[in-house]
Symmetry: C2
Subunit: 427 residues, 2 copies
Amino acid sequence: MLIVIGGVAAGLSAAARARRLDPRLEILVLEKGPVISYGACGLPYLVEGRVAGPADLIVYTPEYFRKERQIEVRTNSRVATIAHPRREVVLESGERLRYERLVVATGARCETRGIAGFGAPHAFTLHTLDDAERMRAFLRDRRPRTAAVIGAGYIGVEAADALRRRGLAVTVFEASPHALLRDDAAVTEAVRKQLERHHVELRTGERVSGIDDLRFDMVVVAAGFRPNTELAAEAGIEIGRTGAIRTDDRMETTLRGVFAAGDCAEVNHLVTNRPAWIPLGTTANKTGRVAGACAAGGRERFAGVVGTSIVSIFGMGFATTGFSAAQARAEGFTPVVARVEANTRPKYYAPAKTTVELVADRATRRLVGGAVIGEDGAAGRINVIAGALQARMRIDEFEQLDLAYSPPFSPVWDPLLVAAQQLLKQF
Amino acid sequence: MLIVIGGVAAGLSAAARARRLDPRLEILVLEKGPVISYGACGLPYLVEGRVAGPADLIVYTPEYFRKERQIEVRTNSRVATIAHPRREVVLESGERLRYERLVVATGARCETRGIAGFGAPHAFTLHTLDDAERMRAFLRDRRPRTAAVIGAGYIGVEAADALRRRGLAVTVFEASPHALLRDDAAVTEAVRKQLERHHVELRTGERVSGIDDLRFDMVVVAAGFRPNTELAAEAGIEIGRTGAIRTDDRMETTLRGVFAAGDCAEVNHLVTNRPAWIPLGTTANKTGRVAGACAAGGRERFAGVVGTSIVSIFGMGFATTGFSAAQARAEGFTPVVARVEANTRPKYYAPAKTTVELVADRATRRLVGGAVIGEDGAAGRINVIAGALQARMRIDEFEQLDLAYSPPFSPVWDPLLVAAQQLLKQF
């Protein structure tokens, strides 16, 4: 019996992959909430109204898994304890279920306990379908005019974008000096500029400790993201220095036969080869697959991540990968940075502007990070940098990348190559 | 004295780069035509009318180079002979000019000599500004209704697109069975489908030997592309097996002190490590820079290309890099292919479709080629594959690329990763 704790991205990827490798394995998924398999990254678009209803975000139902994959799924089934010496999980109901292999995919949460008054009816997080539904009902019934968003990470800026599009006056409070969780002043300034262009105020360096002082019609808490590791820790599974569950490259924890995947787990950072906690949907799916395969006796491995992400703020893409200069320095590199603003097409073919930042290490000449900001091609360009990080490419090689050129798609010197040339001048 | 033969992409890149490395070097550029530094890749858009006039395609004038870069440029100056033992070039006028270093950037041409009746006033190539101007005048004054395009390479399909947008009924004749110079039946079928959707007929496997039999109001010859190597060959410079000028990784020819760059030169193919002739604007600029740097005493090198290109056909991007399966087999690989059609965004975020093809080598598991077709993100995705080819990435690494995900930009499993998963199943 394989038991999977958690029925969203990582947990269901694990269950489905285990089934594919072993058609006869008994598989049970335990989900604490009422629904499984929802696209959590789509929640801001549900609030915005672009996504019509919650059903559009649900990819699979428990019935689907039962019928089509022979995977048993139980919703509203919160696990209270993992009793590994007896290979049992104990549900809150007291029921005990035996396993041979276990996948822990307990996800992460917004830690709201430090925020006084969070229980108020006009206070929200945006983490589950329920959260989004409650927010939609509040917007519809109470017609709030002002909103405070606490946290300028991905969910924070996406929530700000969605609420602004619904006509609210929005202010974003961020305790750190940085937006998008990235110690990069230029990126933060670009985010601020784009938010201000759309009349959203970004107040960095302002910690909010209680929502009662905030005179806003509604408050969205999108800060204090933490891995859900309590269950694992109490079972004696080692928690890494990042605060998430320690794993090896098979996604196995320090307890043999117990795997972890998704937002609760550490993964290897390919730029530093050190454990990192970077909770993102892509990684949840990938680590889930590997955990499920290995739990079913397969031999897959997960090499790691470089920390690539992108967010749309009022139609402009803000994409980052690897480390900013400040982060690279903190990781022990000697960063060399170039930052260019360049055209995305030749002058005669209606170009847009894009900003590209590249960070390399002085000693090894290796690329260690980058950022791309633009309405046009930000995803494609950050992915090229991400691939280069993964391949441990030096800036000298990157500068000679044979990128596609044709006037409708790019200038003859792609902005990536312009940035690389600027960077090389500093070596 | 550095003499550069050719004043378009490669030649001017060489001259400009040499100047940057050596502020006091005497530099002379000899251009056979009346203008320099025009964006040849923009010519179809000039014919289409999207680019208003030829001036929009001219980046720099001879005066600019003279004043701002202290580079002498002579237009209408065709070189008749390179007399290397005396380090002289002889112009058609009989004038002799001495050099210490020489850069040959003589480009390529459409070979029209095999096409009977090409001299007719309704027959065109689309290679120079003059060509485009003559075509524009013909379209304006003669109002042709039908056009035949000979050749379904990049210029051929771009010309077909431009003429169709101007209202002509267009038929494209291609002697080979393939469009876009790629032995890939699926790509050719996709090109055919897209052309037909816009009422342009593609007739593959039809060689046109004379234009008199073609009952069309105008004929555009976009086939028979050949490197201009006669001058170099007569000077005793070795021509490679591809038919273009042989070069080393400094872009030096077999004559010491004589460099070659751009459409007339061979470059190293990074997938095979063998010489290749892939005349494209990006490579012209890059090899020009390296040739200019080395001619000025610098120590730069050009690693090579992977053969990345993209073309827009009625708004859809057709991008390829490396080798198709058939080409890979011809190069000595044992190709394994996956081809998927996938969504470019989650179902709830108005996805478009894109096609991704990946080719890997059975023995080494290395990626050796790919193709991406789509209205959305084709350039970004082909560039990720191109980077992977350059880094000699195996499919196992490629499958774990940490690509950016957010609903406005991509699905959680990017089409590249879906294709990689399909490919891995075959190993």
